[in-house]
Amino acid sequence: MDWHQIWEIVSTPDNVPIVALIPLLAFYIYLGVKQARANDQLIAQLETDPALAKTHHRKTWPFRPGWQKEIHVWPFLLRVEFLAAIIVTIILMVWSITLNAPLEEPSNPNVTMNPAKAPWYFLGLQEMLVYFDPWIAGVVMPTLIIVGLIIIPYIDTNPLGAGYYTIKQRKFALATFGFGFLALWVAMILIGTFIRGPGWQWFWPGQTWDHSRLIYEVNRDLPDIFGITSNLGKGIFGAVVVGGYFAAGGLALTLLFRRFMAKDFRRMSILQYSMVAAFMLMMIALPIKMLFRLLFHIKYVWITPWFNI
């Protein structure tokens, strides 16, 4: 266990946000889950008592006599937000006094730092470059992520669970978010920060980042494994495999939806559902591709002159 190495990574000014991210994320998940569980209990209580349910407006606490039914944004919301703003300002001030921006002067075109890492918020994208070609990982995927986030309101047909924490009423949304944000986005940032060392090689935490480390790893394309050599053959093969994934995945997804979320499924139009299915499959494809690469050393599945997947 190379503690020196770990300290080196943790203490880099660049990595302060990421190191802070770990406890903060844990804390906020804990806070959210705690509130969600309280709400879920309340929901269960309300569902058994229709009278109470009617009078209930402010969700978290069961309504008490003498309370105002509605309260004003000012001052009751804004005073909390303002307090938060002050605290954030204090944190930023102290941070900027104690840690200088990690700028590396002067520029030297003859030296590329190794590992050369993107700013922490782009580390997830940089990690994706390992698995896809730059066109897919750098352009297509980020666009899809943004488009996917934009369309959420239009495909969300669940009328419940808006404005308060709940697990019970938004299982699908929560699971999808948890997977997409925590498992994919945050995990990839952590990999980029702690795992990727010189040569963008995979170093387990505590392993020394040795610049002269050599590893034996041959990555092959999936068509090569099947002995397909012609470009046309590779293109067709990849299209079949990727198409097959979407067909089979779509089928499986539909079956699962029908079985476990019949209500939601019924509420969705065909357009809404196909959007959900398409984005869902693409999202799941990312970790599948990552596993293919990391475990089976498969570089690309679908090879065309224009893009590689």
């Binding site: 006599p65 105002q68 009751f76 307090l83 605290i87 001030m93 590396e104 030297n108 002269s212």
Partner: protein, 1081 residues
């Protein structure tokens, strides 16, 4: 209806946030103040430095001032000062009444002038404004009316009230007149006053200058000035900004004392009663004033020499550039001279008039060549000859092609002219053809010069190691593999590095060398007397470069090999030839054919087998041959008997019997030859040695010209990277650890300095732990350097950087300073400094030779060359350097100082090097080139008589020590013959020499104080000969003129009159009274 519920506390509405807000606001305000403090002081640590400096420097100046006042008082007590002070007072007293009178007048006039001026300027302003109006008025009528106004105004009467109360009226013109009159009056009075004060001020200046000159430190007045400056100091960034070189250095914001005119040491700036702390250390003066004077910080800044980040002011670390991303961190104290290399890459020797600045970097530069580093590593400026040679040869080729082209073109033109239809055209074409032919003759001249140059270059080309084509003629066969195993086992001080060869490699390499070596037989050499040989070896000059004896027994120079065990390795016949003339080759080498030329080649062309500088063309193809060994070793012009004696002595220098070396039969195994060739190529042996088949081999190492600025990432520390970063030492061997200049690493050494130091201490260190094939391993051999040598070389390498400074900062002069630069390369190449002193105090090899410790031997030291350029005629020096015997026939002697046992050797310099050396000496003494000898007026008969009487005077018996050419006398002579003076010396120098030889060559036995100053000329200090009665000219000049016109007949006559000097007399007994003691010469 349900019963009304009891009102409850609403947690959102009723909760108070006051406490949270209070805490948050307090923190916010606190962080705001923190930010303000950080902005003002945290990010500006130099403010603190300036405050501390102000305080401590103030205290220092205060005590310095009282000391200075004390010293001032002492000087003021001096009668000379008092005289000056009295003179000043007297002058003042005398002038005072007149000054007072004029002062009174001046005061009055000034007051009157002021009164007039007040009125006049006001009126003039009105007039000027009116004139402007008239000028810009369009209508004639308007002009007229305004003119009337103006005239009216000018005619008015204005009242001036004078300081004495009187009033007077003037119109405008009168007013102007009065004003001008008063002004002139005032100027006249001022001039009078100045005239009066002049003698007073002069006397005062004399008095003050006397004080300044006699105070070691600053005067109290000057210190008071510094005190005021320090007390009034406003905290601010101190910055040197040289826009043309993009230098912005703010170092002096903290290092405030660096340029103060007083000497500041850490101790003098420590806090009261405290030890010198970081502040005290930061405030010291620059350690070398002369260095700073040459490199004025206002032009050079600080960072071009010291590196670091001159712009950074936020912390010491940033300012010194001691952080990961700054590419030019401050040079460590031990390697501070690296900075010199940035601009002085073209220099071989860096030194100042005094002090040892430049010693480390010069040593590094010297070692780089001396240890043969440039055999493997290219470095711009080193070993230029091969590249220059190639360049010259290419130029010759181009010129020849140009000539042929011209000839063709001329032929075409002539033909066209023959067929031309009219005369004018024909004539024009003929003229053009003619011009081309003339151009060809000019080119022929250029080619001739290039040929000379190429011959010179071939002669200047040297190798650091011996010629290995001669191993069969030279060496004990069985000794070779033993030597290759580890050269330092046989000769601990050898230049040859240890190559870590395994047995197979040793066998293969020795077999190859043996089998490709020349098989010619050498003539049998006569035997000599070893006892005589020992004496000759220790006195003739060998020890100027070579050493003998091991450990504390060792004496001599370290430039060439230690010969303690030479008898074990060498053949007697070869040794004889080598000592007689080391430049002799068994066979010459033709670079064109790439082959050694032997008698058979000459026989083919019916030519006698003879090659030397006069017969240097190849019999086969007429190209220039390499006719001499590529060694710098000179010939001492020894007679055959002397050579035999020395060789016989050296052959006895052995610690074991040469026959006891194990038989190495494998060296004749032809199967090993190919393998040996491979390893020789692999290890780059040909970088230092001449080896058959490897004459054109290139360098195998990496170029080091800009190694210091190679990105750290490209210096491969292999498995040691991590440990270097963590500051752990990786060398375990105690002997090798001792080579690290600063001992085992205690902190991060992942930097250039750490890399170089470890690499030089143990060149294969970065192979540790690596699994590598034999051919993959690091090839650099162990140069077994000591820690000072490593420090010198690391200093040199660290400074080997690409610089961002403009080219004008590079020290590449084109005038006489260039001659000095070039000269040092040659002086160090041939180790002239082994015998001669070029700068005062420079050590020579002879100082540690035991024989020379005897006071009787003091005059046997080689002459010092401190002012050689001013001393000798350059034409003569050219001749002398070519042939130090100054004779074609009598060569076994010194030309100038036949009395010296040590002999000035013949170096076989090329014309180019000889020219450079002569220019070097002239430039060192700043003598103009070319030299025009001064013409001395011929002596009259009376002057000759006078001079002769001086020359032979009992108080200055010149011919007692100076040689005369008479063998019996010269046995005891200790100075050169006067007959040579005319050609050899410069009259001006000779005059200075006979006046005060001690200041030209400290320790010389030539007596000082022969002349004393009498008014504006020098007269003889001893009893003046009677012939001088009534002679009022300079006695020195007379004597010099006599010496320069001395003829052999005159000298014989004079020496006959003087009689012989008794032999074996000590220097002290020969001196006239009052001269300084004789010492080393």
């Amino acid at each position: 209806m349900a019963e009304p519920l009891t009102p409850d506390h609403d947690p959102i509405v009723t909760r108070s946030y006051a406490l949270y807000y209070l805490i948050a606001i307090v923190l916010l305000v606190a962080s705001l103040f923190w930010a303000l403090w950080d902005e003002a002081y945290g990010q500006r640590p130099w403010k603190k430095y300036q405050a501390v400096f102000q305080e401590r420097y103030g205290a220092f100046l205060k005590s310095a001032r009282s000391q200075s006042a004390q010293a001032e008082k002492e000087v003021q007590g001096n009668p000379e000062y008092r005289k000056l002070a009295e003179a000043a007072d007297a002058a003042e007293k005398q002038a005072t009444p007149t000054i007072k009178k004029i002062g009174g007048q001046l005061k009055e006039v000034s007051a009157r002038l002021l009164a007039v001026q007040n009125v006049f300027t006001d009126k003039r302003a009105w007039v000027n404004a009116k004139v402007y109006e008239i000028e810009t008025e369009d209508s004639a009528r308007g002009k007229q009316s305004k003119q009337r106004d103006l005239d009216k105004y000018k005619a008015q009467q204005f009242t001036v009230k004078f300081p004495d109360g009187s009033r007077k009226n003037f119109n405008f013109d009168q007013l102007e007149e009065e004003y001008n009159r008063l002004r002139e009056e005032k100027a006249r009075l001022n001039a009078d006053l100045g005239e009066l004060l002049k003698p007073v001020n002069e006397a005062k200046t004399k008095r003050d200058d006397y004080l300044k000159e006699h105070l070691v430190s600053l005067t109290p007045e000057q210190i008071a000035g510094l005190q005021k400056k320090t007390a009034d100091w406003d905290t601010k960034i101190v910055q040197i900004n040289v826009a043309s070189a993009n230098i912005v250095d703010r170092c002096e914001s903290c290092h405030m004392g660096i340029r103060e005119p007083v000497r500041l040491t850490p101790a003098s700036l420590a806090a009261k009663g405290g030890k010198p702390d970081e502040y005290a250390r930061a405030f010291v003066s620059h350690p070398d004033e002369e260095l700073l004077q040459i490199h004025d910080p206002d032009k050079f800044g600080c960072s071009p020499c010291h590196q670091g980040n001159g712009r950074a002011t936020t912390s010491v670390t940033k300012g010194h550039g001691d952080y990961e991303h700054w590419l030019w961190p401050l040079f460590a104290r031990q390697n501070v001279e690296s900075g010199c290399q940035t601009c002085h890459a073209a220099d071989m020797m860096l030194h100042l008039t005094t002090g040892n600045v430049g010693q480390v970097i010069s040593e590094g530069k010297f070692l780089f060549r001396q240890r043969g580093c440039n055999g493997c590593h290219k470095y711009e400026g080193y070993d230029r000859e091969p590249e220059d040679l190639l360049n010259v040869q290419q130029q010759i080729k181009q010129k020849e092609e140009e000539q042929q082209g011209n000839l063709r073109r001329a032929a075409v033109l002539t033909k066209q002219a023959d067929n031309a239809t009219d005369n004018a055209t024909a004539n024009r074409l003929y003229a053009e053809a003619e011009a081309l032919k003339v151009a060809n003759s000019r080119i022929a001249g250029q080619i001739e010069q290039l040929d000379f140059r190429s011959r010179d270059l071939l002669r200047d080309l040297k190798k650091i190691g011996p010629d290995l084509k001669e191993v069969r003629t030279k060496l004990n066969k069985n000794w070779i593999p033993v030597w290759l195993h580890k050269p330092t086992d046989f000769r601990p001080t050898t230049k040859m590095p240890n190559f870590r060869l395994n047995d197979e490699q040793i066998k293969a390499i020795s077999a190859f060398l043996w089998q490709v070596a020349l098989t010619d037989k050498l003539p049998t050499a006569p035997k000599g007397d070893a006892t005589r040989g020992k004496e000759l070896f220790e006195t003739r000059g060998c020890l100027g470069c070579h050493s003998i004896g091991e450990g504390p027994e060792m004496q001599g120079g370290d430039f060439a090999a230690n010969l303690t065990r030479v008898g074990e390795k060498v053949n007697y016949d070869y040794l004889f030839r080598w000592i007689k003339n080391p430049r002799v080759r068994t066979r010459s080498y033709c670079p064109y054919e790439k082959k050694d030329i032997g008698p058979e080649d000459y026989a083919k062309h019916n030519l006698p087998y003879q090659f030397d500088f006069e017969h240097s063309t190849c019999p086969n193809d007429g190209h220039e041959l390499q006719v001499e060994q590529m060694t710098v070793m000179p010939s001492l012009r020894l007679s055959d008997e002397e050579v035999a004696d020395i060789a016989s002595y050296l052959i006895t220098q052995r610690q074991k019997d040469p026959a006891s070396y194990p038989e190495a039969a494998f060296m004749d195994d032809p199967k090993l030859k190919e393998e040996g060739k491979k390893w020789i190529r692999h290890f780059g042996c040909a970088g230092c040695h001449e080896i058959a088949g490897f004459e054109d081999e290139g360098r195998i190492g990496t170029e080091l010209t800009v190694e210091g600025s190679k990105p750290l990432e490209r210096l491969d520390l292999a498995l040691h990277t991590q440990k270097a970063q963590e500051g752990k030492e990786v060398i375990t061997d105690k002997a090798i650890l001792a080579r690290l200049p600063e001992g085992p690493a205690t902190s991060d050494w992942y930097n250039h300095k750490g890399f170089f130091e470890h690499k030089l201490a143990m060149p294969n260190i970065y192979d540790q732990g690596m699994m590598k094939a034999e051919t993959e391993k690091l090839r650099m051999p162990d140069p077994h350097l000591n820690k000072d040598q490593i420090q010198a070389l690391v200093t040199f390498l660290l400074g080997s950087q690409e610089t961002s400074l403009p080219a004008s900062y590079q020290y590449k002069p084109e005038d006489w300073r260039r001659d000095i630069q070039d000269g040092w390369w040659i002086v160090r190449k041939y180790n002239c400094v082994g015998c001669h002193q070029f700068t005062p105090g420079q050590p020579t090899s002879w100082q540690n030779v035991r024989r020379f410790q005897d006071p009787d031997w003091k005059e046997q030291f080689p002459p010092k060359l401190l002012t050689e350029g001013a001393r000798v005629d350059p034409e003569w020096l050219m001749r002398f350097l070519a042939n130090p015997a100054l004779s074609q026939t009598d060569t076994h002697r010194n030309g100038v100082r036949p009395y010296l046992k040590i002999r000035m050797p013949t170096f076989f310099f090329s014309d180019m090097e000889r020219r450079k050396l002569v220019r070097f000496f002239q430039a060192l003494s700043q003598q103009p080139m070319p030299y025009t000898p001064e013409r001395l007026p011929t002596l009259t008969a009376k002057e000759t008589d006078m001079a002769r009487s001086l020359f032979t005077s009992a108080a200055a018996p010149c011919l007692k020590c100076h040689a005369t050419g008479d063998a019996a006398h010269d046995k005891t002579a200790t100075a050169p013959n006067f007959l040579m003076a005319k050609d050899r010396l410069k009259p001006g120098w000779t005059e200075r020499w006979i006046t005060d030889p001690q200041s030209i060559s400290p320790g010389t036995s030539m007596p000082s104080g022969l002349f004393r100053k009498d008014g504006d000329h020098y007269v003889f200090a001893g009893p003046t000969p009677s012939a001088f009665a009534g002679y009022d000219k300079d006695h020195r000049q007379l004597l010099v003129r006599y010496i320069f016109q001395l003829t052999p007949e005159e000298q014989r006559r004079v020496s006959g009159r003087m009689g012989r000097a008794p032999a074996g007399k000590k220097a002290s007994s020969r001196k006239p009274a009052g001269s300084t003691p004789a010492g080393v010469q």
